[in-house]
Symmetry: C2
Subunit: 270 residues, 2 copies
């Protein structure tokens, strides 16, 4: 009896194929397309973008349209487009009472046109054209207006990764600003290091192990505990020497501000 029940459950589960229409042609759309393509219970029934661009070298041209009114029937419509395009594109979609989600970290769920059932499907990662993304390790943040749509989004997300989080629009905004600090601003600090090395005949590769270790460390330890360096050590001699070493006024300003911020946090003003 139990066996039959398991069998039936599996049958129902396997029959729940999720049909997806993917809109957009940027990095997120391309990576998402490739990731969804490899999933058993997901069919990408169609892609839409203005230039009728295929999303991978293997994709058939017939699967892509640039005519918004000829979009096919599906369970979930994913708008993997730029933040500014979400509201307009969702309003142009001539479908009704369908689940339409965007993939943005910073746009509220309400940006999607009112005629749709709204949702968010935000993969928290930096996507570039050239680097392949391992979705299995990726956090995906989901949001929907009701339990049924949320379950559907969770099914879609869990087919790609174990790290699925239910996150409100407000929380997602905080997450996105955090991502700017740990990704965009961090990368800018890396580029300062690169610049200083280049100006002094030092290969930037010398800093790679340090950068890797810095990122690894905070996966095992709270970054507040992991803080090292002259600022937290209150090593005013080294700080003064560094400030004399730097010549770019912008680098000096950033060095001073971050040193001051670290010293304020750890209890000593400059």
């Amino acid at each position: 009896m139990l066996r039959l029940f398991n069998f039936l459950t599996e049958l129902v589960y396997f029959s729940q194929m999720i049909r997806v229409v993917l809109l957009g042609a940027g990095n997120v759309a391309q990576h998402l397309y490739t990731a969804l393509l490899n999933q058993k219970h997901i069919t990408v029934v169609q892609c839409y973008n203005r230039k009728k661009k295929t999303l991978s070298t293997t994709q058939n041209k017939d699967e892509v349209t640039n005519i918004i009114h000829s979009i096919k029937d599906a369970d979930i419509y994913i708008l993997a487009v730029s933040d500014d395009a979400i509201a307009e594109l969702s309003a142009q979609l001539r479908i009704k009472n369908k689940l339409v989600v965007h993939t943005s970290g910073s746009v509220p769920i309400q940006a999607i046109a009112a005629i749709h059932k709204k949702g968010v499907f935000y993969p928290l990662q930096t996507f570039s054209a050239t680097t392949p993304i391992d979705f299995a390790k990726l956090p995906i943040c989901i949001e929907a207006e009701n339990h049924h749509d949320l379950t559907r989004l969770r099914d879609l997300a869990t087919s790609l990764t174990k790290n699925v989080y239910e996150v409100t629009s407000e929380q997602r905004n905080f997450l996105h600003v955090s991502a700017v600090f740990v990704n965009n601003f961090t990368n800018y600090l890396f580029s300062i290091g690169h610049e200083i090395c280049a100006l002094n005949d030092l290969p930037f590769e010398m800093l790679h192990p340090l950068i890797t270790e810095t990122a690894q460390k905070i996966t095992k330890m709270n970054p507040t505990q992991a803080q090292t360096g002259p600022a937290v050590r209150k090593d005013t001699k080294t700080i003064a020497r560094h400030l004399q070493t730097l010549s770019n006024p912008e680098h000096i300003e950033i060095y001073q501000m971050l040193t001051k911020a670290i010293q304020t946090k750890y209890g000593k003003k400059l």
Copy 2:
């Protein structure tokens, strides 16, 4: 004949055991001790520190002294002590015409007392008590006053890693300030992300894959090319929303300064 020559060369090479005295008891001394211990052609003949502390759980107490005048004969004396202690400790060392090196990123070679042959042996990494360090991937920067000492330091360094760089005191200073940007300041940005997540019921683990990917990316791509985010995209709407989201005045100030710096670099002022 050639075979005999090769054999003799090897014999000479293998007989050149490098005898090391290690001074200091901090993180660098401890990690260095463990790394040197595993090398065939290196003997740590003695360790010195004021508290007569053993550098690993397996080290014999007899190998450690706290009496500076009873330090043994060796080929290289490594001062793995704090920057401020280098000059004084090297002056106290009652040995003459011996190679004495420090492990600091920011102290010039000349800080070592004039009675010694001076050198630098700087492993470019962030050392913490709890995290083991893989020296094989580590860059070690060496500096000496003559070719013979440099060869000796290179022998010592290459026994630990393939990444050995000859770096002047001036270059090392630039390297050290670069390390502050890519390690200490980067870690501080991670702690801002951690703080924002904690205040909004978001697990910081959600940002781990993004942080790892950010660090990985620049090992394959120049960070200037890798720059992404609202600042470089000139996405003023998202920037304004982020600034409204942030409540900590220090975070706002840092967000504004780094956004301005990125926009200046990529050709658009705020």
